[in-house]
């Protein structure tokens, strides 16, 4: 494989602790190596430019059934933005729900090289893998959803952690999944009857278990197995005024549980898109930011990581396994609504949404997301996301960087809000003067999420031995710049390397890379009861047979298996 030496760039890397000093980065055989280890490298001149590891997205909806519902039921999302193929690029289209091909290329252009699909309905795992297979360049994994799964509800009702863990291990293998995702625990099962679970103590109809039992049980089962990532959480009561108490109640369920993982993470719960879970007030008239309370908790509890779910003020397509929430949303905005409940497992909904700067609530949401990041004491535990495409499309990450790095940019936006005064009253953002630097951005977008995922041994840094995922941006941090320069530079990487292959050269995409699909193979002791339950449920309640359920073979042409031994 080709050797590269990226010379004289301003390097920002939390793993090496380099904060913008000039350094050289060497690549050999797909890995980062000491600069002395390359003999005849191709020289990449990065002088006057910023060099970072490839970005890691811990939470985005980029592949699978509900994403494709979003594509197929929104032809308007493609209006005036379909582009022809050229060079090695194929045809592309879509703004908030781009085609898989555009997804791969657009992430690459922002310097991102690893993207996790945030919610995979197990019965639709094959579909999710087909889409990931057709997404070029990126390493990807997908999180199967567990929070409304009948097996889990039945086992955890009696706090059967070992059985839950054995079932998780079985399902991860059957679906080729990466982590344990929980969406509106119990609430989506309730939604199968048109109901919901509004707080952690609201019992699930028929199953007679509370969301609190599900959350705590799944954290314990996750740690029983010692999976690379922690339980990945989307709490009950998303998107409602006053919901921050439910969020804090959910956080507290992780207290006293220690991480048990050989993969270097320190958290036992990752809570995603916390912006949607940080609202005070009791109606849309008096909704307000509770980011201070939320971050007060996060900052003082190091067994939690979170991501932002930053609203980007765009027209977008919301999609979540939180079925009742999407129904709630369509009643609010009266736009088209798709729903897809999945037997024994989960559900989902899709509704377009316009986050308008002229609407007070949207502006408050925008402020809350930024507050979460700006109030973070440890950027290694607070990650940048838009919950793509729920709060906005992922292509806005560079714009969020601009807002986080520049108070001037934030003030410009606040001044542009129609209801500026009300928004300022309901939030804390106007009083925050913190400006993040690129080192902190690298923590929030690279080293932090990689560590939380249990993938710090592969991604998120530029230390020798890590995967050679390296991005070079046209940005000189030592020269004066206006806020928009940040957005422009980080939207359009000058060079990008993925696993040592040059993907972008002088802003041109020159390779489709060697995309890999990550999944976790957790080995557990034989568990006859769980296998009997699996057989029974397939025989009686599923509409596919057990033998037709497992995903394998050509759905993962280039798998990367992470082995976990939980037999002890």
């Amino acid at each position: 494989m080709a050797e590269f030496l990226i010379k004289n760039g301003f390097v920002f890397d939390p793993i090496l602790g380099i904060k913008g000093d000039v350094a050289d980065i060497a690549i050999k055989d797909g890995k980062i190596v000491e600069t002395s280890a390359v003999t005849k490298p191709k020289i990449i001149d990065a002088s006057g430019k910023t060099v970072m590891a490839g970005g890691v997205d811990i939470h985005a909806h980029v592949a699978g059934p509900k994403v494709n519902i979003g594509r197929n039921f929104r032809p308007e999302d493609k209006l005036f933005n379909c582009t022809p193929g050229h060079g090695i690029e194929r045809m592309q289209g879509g703004f908030s729900v781009p085609t898989t091909i555009r997804t791969g290329y657009n992430y690459a252009r922002m310097g991102y090289t690893t993207v996790m699909e945030a919610a995979m309905p197990p019965l639709y795992a094959r579909h999710t893998h087909e889409e990931m297979r057709d997404t070029p360049i990126l390493d990807q994994g997908a999180y199967p959803v567990f929070g409304n799964n009948w097996f889990v509800l039945e086992y955890l009702k009696n706090h059967e952690i070992e059985n839950t863990a054995a079932y998780i291990a079985w399902l991860l293998r059957a679906t080729k999944g990466y982590a344990v995702k929980v969406v509106n625990p119990g609430g989506t099962e309730a939604w199968a009857w048109g109901l919901n679970c509004d707080n952690v103590h609201d019992p699930v109809p028929y199953f007679d278990i509370t969301p609190a039992q599900i959350i705590k049980g799944l954290i314990e089962a996750n740690e029983y197995l010692g999976l690379p990532h922690s339980m990945h959480m989307h709490a009950n009561n998303l998107g409602n005024p006053g919901n921050y108490t439910t969020t804090l109640d959910s956080f507290k369920l992780s207290e006293g549980i220690k991480p048990n993982s050989k993969f270097g993470r320190d958290q036992v719960m990752h809570h995603t898109h916390v912006q949607f879970h940080s609202y005070g007030g009791d109606s849309w008239a008096n909704v307000e930011s509770k980011a201070k309370e939320i971050m007060g908790y996060v900052n003082s509890h190091d067994n939690i990581t979170i991501d932002m779910g930053q609203v980007t003020l765009d027209e977008t397509t919301t999609m979540t396994a939180d079925g009742p929430f999407e129904h709630h949303l369509t009643e609010l905005n009266h736009l088209k609504w798709a729903n897809a409940d999945v037997e024994l497992e989960t559900g989902s909904g899709v509704v377009p949404y316009v986050y308008s700067p002229n609407i007070k609530v949207c502006a408050i949401q925008w402020c809350i997301g930024l507050e979460l990041a700006l109030l973070a004491k440890d950027p290694m535990r607070v990650f940048m996301t838009t919950d793509h495409p729920n709060a906005g499309p992922f292509i806005r990450y560079p714009r969020i960087m601009k807002w986080l790095m520049s108070q001037e940019a934030r003030e410009q936006q606040i001044d542009a809000f129609k209801h500026k005064d009300k928004v300022v009253d309901a939030t804390n953002l106007a009083g925050i003067d913190r400006e993040l630097d690129l080192y902190e951005i690298a923590q929030m977008t690279r080293a932090g999420p990689a560590k939380s995922l249990g993938l710090a041994h592969m991604y998120g840094g530029l230390a020798p031995g890590l995967e050679a995922d390296v991005a070079v941006f046209d940005f000189n941090p030592n020269e004066s710049y206006v806020p928009d320069d940040i957005e422009n530079a980080f939207s359009n990487a000058r060079h990008l390397f993925k696993a040592g292959v040059q993907i972008i050269s002088d802003h041109e995409i020159v390779s489709n890379g060697n995309k890999r699909t990550l999944w976790v193979n957790a080995r557990v002791n034989e568990n006859p009861q769980v296998m009997r339950d699996v057989k029974e449920k397939f025989l009686r309640y599923y509409t596919v047979t057990l033998n037709n359920y497992e995903v394998s073979g050509h759905y993962l042409p280039n798998p990367y298996v992470i082995e976990v031994d939980a037999t002890q």
Partner: protein, 437 residues
């Protein structure tokens, strides 16, 4: 000794039953018996064993006779036809696997084709309605385990999806539906007394072409507002009764078919049907599902969805994907003489398109990739027989509720026969050579 292959997936209709058992000869070359399938499904498997099956590509001669050609020659003819055409139509894609559909997309991109599937004369109107208003739906297992109100509108599963009623909708005993059919109320809306209507608790024998009115009347009835004495031939008391039946259920499901998607009103009927479902969700839980016909028409819409963003009628001829049903749909293109070559795979437009369109296909350079002899193969210039997907080769297919299932290979194809995917790959290679890319 014979071998029994279990968990076989039936490549016939959108019900995509996956519990078939197929007995094959010891050497895996002969398919002997099929269990658990409906009559149509069993015939599809057994038909592959026909002695008179066409096993080599053939080209129509000037005198009307066929001449056998090699797969290479067939691929070359196809590639040249597509590459030379200004705007070829690549139609069908519903009776094949997603892997072949994917290769088809690459060919379509390379030659600037219009890609269209059988939804164009089937549930395309439903897809348009979904773009208008969305679709609250679910998997078939939700129906089996929860539904106690089953409404069939303009569809006749007793004949078109024979195992649908026993596997998913009327008869099965699921988790919350332990009483099976006795716990369910079945309503059929159909102008004919179909075999499905015969098993219904209520048959609304609607006047043909008045679906929109009756759907709207249901929405009025849900709200308890006034109705005229008769709507669409149904007395108002009956409509109020059916509305109450639906509202009082725990879980209602509407299945609909061609009787409502392709009768007068078309996509507007489906708009109304989905609005009925939305309304019902104010009172109880409700879902709606199109009864997709071909076993993988759904998959074709999915594959194009993630590759191009549109489920059917995808025009790639300008170099990027465009979608405008009415303009980029097959029959409109054919009848306006807007396409100059026709490639058909996994469908039979010769049997199902209007005669005015079929005549255009006959007049154009045309290739049909198809295991059977069909009206389409009769009118095309080249017929490429291929292995049966789901019988002689596996691959992914999407059920009517979008659940993907990997079909199975149970026997070998006759010696030397190519699969859809293999043939398309050789066409793609030739296209690239011709285009120099």
């Amino acid at each position: 000794m014979t071998k029994t292959v279990t968990d076989v997936v039936c490549p016939f209709c959108g019900t995509l039953c996956d519990d078939l058992e197929v007995v094959v000869s010891d050497d895996g070359k002969k398919l002997l018996e099929v269990y658990n399938a409906c009559a149509i499904g069993a015939e599809k498997f057994l038909h592959s064993q026909a002695k008179d099956r066409i096993t080599r590509p053939r080209m129509r001669q000037e005198d009307g006779s066929w001449k056998e050609i090699s797969y290479d020659e067939a691929a070359d003819y196809t590639a040249r036809m597509l590459a030379d055409a200004k705007k070829p139509l690549m139609y069908g894609w519903s009776s094949t696997n997603c892997e072949a559909q994917s290769v088809g997309s690459e060919i379509g991109e390379a030659v600037g084709a219009v890609m269209d599937n059988t939804a164009t004369v089937c549930h395309g109107t439903s897809l348009i309605a979904v773009q208008d208003i969305g679709i609250p739906s679910c998997t078939l297992g939700e129906v089996k385990n929860r539904a106690d109100r089953i409404l069939f509108w303009g569809c006749n599963p007793a004949h078109a999806h024979p195992r649908h009623m026993s596997r998913y909708s009327i008869f099965p005993r699921g988790f919350f539906t332990g009483k099976g059919h006795t716990g369910r109320k079945v309503i059929v809306v159909d102008p004919r007394v179909t075999d499905t209507a015969r098993v219904a608790d209520v048959h609304l024998q609607i006047e043909q072409g008045h679906d929109y009115e009756l759907l709207d009347a249901l929405r009025v009835a849900f709200k308890g507002e006034q109705l005229p004495d008769v709507v669409a031939g149904i007395p108002k008391a009956k409509i109020y009764e059916v509305a109450e039946t639906l509202k009082s259920g725990r879980f209602a499901i509407i299945f609909f078919g061609m009787g409502v998607t392709q009768s007068i009103g078309k996509n507007h009927n489906i708009d109304a049907a989905i609005a009925v479902t939305r309304d019902l969700n104010e009172y109880t839980k409700a879902a709606i599902m199109p009864m997709r016909g071909h076993y993988n028409v759904t998959g074709s819409g999915q594959v194009w969805g993630w590759q191009f963003g549109f489920p059917f009628a995808v025009d790639l001829s300008r170099g990027f994907a465009r979608y405008n049903p009415g303009e980029t749909t097959s029959n409109d293109l054919l009848r306006r003489d807007e396409v100059d070559a026709v490639f058909v795979l996994g469908s039979d437009p010769g049997a199902h398109f209007p005669f005015s369109s079929v005549r255009k296909i006959y007049d154009l350079p045309s290739v049909a990739v198809e295991p059977h002899e069909t009206p389409t193969t009769e009118i095309c210039k080249v017929h490429v027989p291929v292995a049966f997907v789901g019988v002689e080769v596996g691959g992914c297919a999407y059920r009517m509720d979008n659940v993907p299932i990997e079909t199975r290979k149970v026997v070998d194809a006759p010696e030397g026969m190519m699969t859809d995917e293999e043939f398309l790959k050789s066409v793609l290679m030739r296209v690239r050579e011709i285009k120099g890319v």
